[in-house]
């Protein structure tokens, strides 16, 4: 198998005086969906932000596409092909849906084919295309955040809880969009609390606890083993 698109080696990140990531080791294989799982507050978001550079790693290494990006500025990492959907969505509320999407295009104008694809996946965005994004509902903002990250092809997507607070019907739309993204060959590191989404989308999984990755393996293996889930995450994911 080819080398992974992303590997973290012994990543340590401090936030203020707190030692949050305490040696994260993680690999994201190319063209796969890797689930990053774990209880609340174990450091999933911090891991994504460290990969993106929003928190700078104190020590350890971030290897992306054959390059050490540990010390690169945030914008350089993005331009190297990492797309980021933050937990808080990072929507520009004063800008219209269209303007948000245009800002997602860093290499050129909005590609019409890409736009059509995203609007068929998320028709609500078309309905509100010229409205201020701040007026969208929470779920619509979530769609916009994802669509904005997908509007240009990226090699690796870091997506933090895209289905948080979404109605079940929309969750499956979101999952479908992520599946299509993967079918285009993208690699995805996905933080997801919704177990059915995680099981349906995930190829492999990494479970975190206390600022470390404590288990990695096939998603199917984790999904099939309730005892393992209980041990790793304190509860069986089925109960969600």
């Amino acid at each position: 198998m080819s080398e992974p698109i992303l590997s973290l080696r012994g990543l340590h990140t401090d936030i203020a005086q707190y030692h949050i990531l305490q040696g994260v080791d993680l690999e994201v294989p190319r063209g796969q969906v890797t689930m990053l799982l774990g209880r609340n507050g174990v450091g999933k978001t911090t891991t994504l932000k460290s990969i993106m550079g929003q928190w700078s790693a104190k020590s350890g290494q971030i290897l992306y596409d054959g390059q050490d990006i540990t010390r690169l500025p945030v914008s350089a990492r993005a331009r190297a092909g990492i797309g980021f959907v933050p937990e808080d969505m990072g929507i520009f509320r004063d800008l219209t849906v269209e303007e948000n999407m245009v800002l997602g295009c860093t290499t050129g104008p909005l590609d019409p084919a890409r736009k059509d694809w995203l609007l068929s996946a998320f028709p609500a965005l078309g309905t509100f295309w010229h409205s201020e994004a701040g007026n969208l509902s929470g779920g619509q903002k979530q769609m916009l955040s994802i669509a904005r990250a997908m509007v240009e092809e990226r090699k690796l997507y870091l997506i933090d809880e895209p289905t948080k607070g979404l109605a079940p019907a929309i969750v499956s739309t979101m999952a479908q969009a992520l599946r299509e993204l993967k079918a285009q060959g993208a690699s995805i590191l996905l933080v997801e609390q919704n177990f059915s989404v995680a099981r349906a989308l995930g190829d492999s999984a990494a479970v975190m606890d206390d600022g470390r990755v404590i288990w990695t393996g096939e998603m199917a293996e984790l999904a099939a083993n309730k005892d393992l889930q209980e041990r790793l995450m304190g509860l069986s994911m089925e109960t969600h």
Binding site: M52, Q54, P73, V74, S75, A78, R79, F84, P86, D88, G90, F92, R93, D94, L95, E99, V102, L103, G104, T106, F122, P123, A124, G126, T127, S131, G134, N135, M143, R148, A169, I170, S172, T173
Partner: protein, 343 residues
């Protein structure tokens, strides 16, 4: 399955207060003008004062626009901004004095050419000065407000002293170019030509700035950066470069404002920029820090109010703008058009 809601929602069913909420600041300017009319009574005086208030407002807006964006983008409080106003005025006025033949000629073309050259020179010098100021003084203190206040005030003092060194300690008097002297009379009201020109320049600049902010990619990046800088970076844009560009443009605009203000007052001093900063800060704050539209409205309110009150009750002129600021901040603590910051 489709996500488009069946009921085709629109935003038309917002309550009246919600809709007025956004439009209210814009309506304040005509309201103030009408109130001025009622209070002053005499239409010709009112018209003269209104033009004069709008002219003053436009000039303050030009000086404040850069300051508000600089704060919005990088949270930088720049007290040194006033220095660019003074430097712009001195450079511009020097050019005008050197071009005395052109400004003294009874030719509007030559007069305007002289002003144009003065403005270009002032903006070039203050833009370059802004670039240096950002690198040397502002960049080391990103994110530390107290230090920003201290070092930018320091920078202001140094630049003011440099003006004394270069241009001497005295104020410089300047005559307006020949064709811009005097007033035109309309409906019995005398309106100084220069003030009409200032209103025109201010309007054109505001519209141009709005176009850039709304219609260009750079403008989008600036507006997005004011709201959520880290996300702009995460999309792949180098916010720092955008910020430096805005800082340079804002400094150049302050320089332009300095030339215009100098010609308005017909006298310039090294301290003029520092004096203007009180009004400039009031305008940026009541407009909502980071909002160019807010600064525009705020500047017009300040200019109009100052002129009306100076006519009606001269003793109150000084406190009128403080009162305006207090009132607006009680109504909207974040300013009239607050920029909602991502935490």
């Amino acid at each position: 399955m489709t996500l488009a809601p069946d009921h085709k929602p629109t935003f038309a069913n917002l309550s009246l207060t919600d809709r007025l909420g956004k439009a209210m600041p814009v309506i304040l300017v005509p309201i103030l003008i009408v109130l001025g009319f009622v209070a002053i009574g005499a239409p010709s005086s009112w018209l003269t004062l209104t033009v004069s208030g709008l002219a003053m407002g436009m000039m303050i807006f030009i000086m404040a626009s850069g300051l508000t964006l600089v704060f919005g983008l990088m949270d930088v409080i720049n007290f040194g901004h006033g220095a660019f106003i003074s430097v712009g005025a001195f450079v511009g006025v020097s050019v005008l004095i050197a071009l005395g033949d052109w400004t003294g000629a009874a030719s509007l073309l030559l007069n305007m050419a002289a002003i144009l050259l003065a403005v270009v020179a002032a903006m070039a010098v203050t833009g370059a000065l802004g670039w240096g100021f950002e690198r040397v003084i502002v960049k080391p203190v990103y994110g530390a407000h107290l230090k920003q206040i201290l070092v930018t005030v320091g920078g202001l003092i140094v630049i003011e002293q440099l003006i004394y060194v270069i241009w001497g300690p005295d104020e410089i008097f300047i005559n307006r170019p020949e064709m811009l002297k005097g007033a035109v009379t309309f409906a019995g009201a005398a309106m100084e030509k220069y003030r009409l020109l200032a209103v025109g320049i201010g309007l054109v600049l505001f519209i141009a700035m709005r176009m850039v902010l709304r219609r260009t990619k750079i403008g989008l990046i600036v507006r997005a950066g004011v709201e959520n800088g880290p996300m702009v970076e995460a999309l792949g844009y180098r916010l720092r470069i955008v910020f430096v560009g805005v800082f340079i443009a804002g400094s150049a605009l302050a320089g332009l404002g300095g030339v215009m203000w100098g010609l308005y007052q017909e006298v310039i001093t090294a301290g003029m920029g520092e004096e203007m900063m009180v009004l400039v800060f009031i305008v940026a704050i009541i407009g909502g820090l980071g909002s160019v539209e807010g600064a525009f409205i705020g500047a017009l309110l300040v200019g109009l109010l100052q002129n009306y009150v100076a006519f009606l009750e001269p003793k109150l002129a000084l406190v009128s703008n403080i009162a305006l600021m207090t009132t607006i901040l009680m109504w909207r603590p974040q300013g009239m058009l607050p920029v909602v910051k991502a935490k």
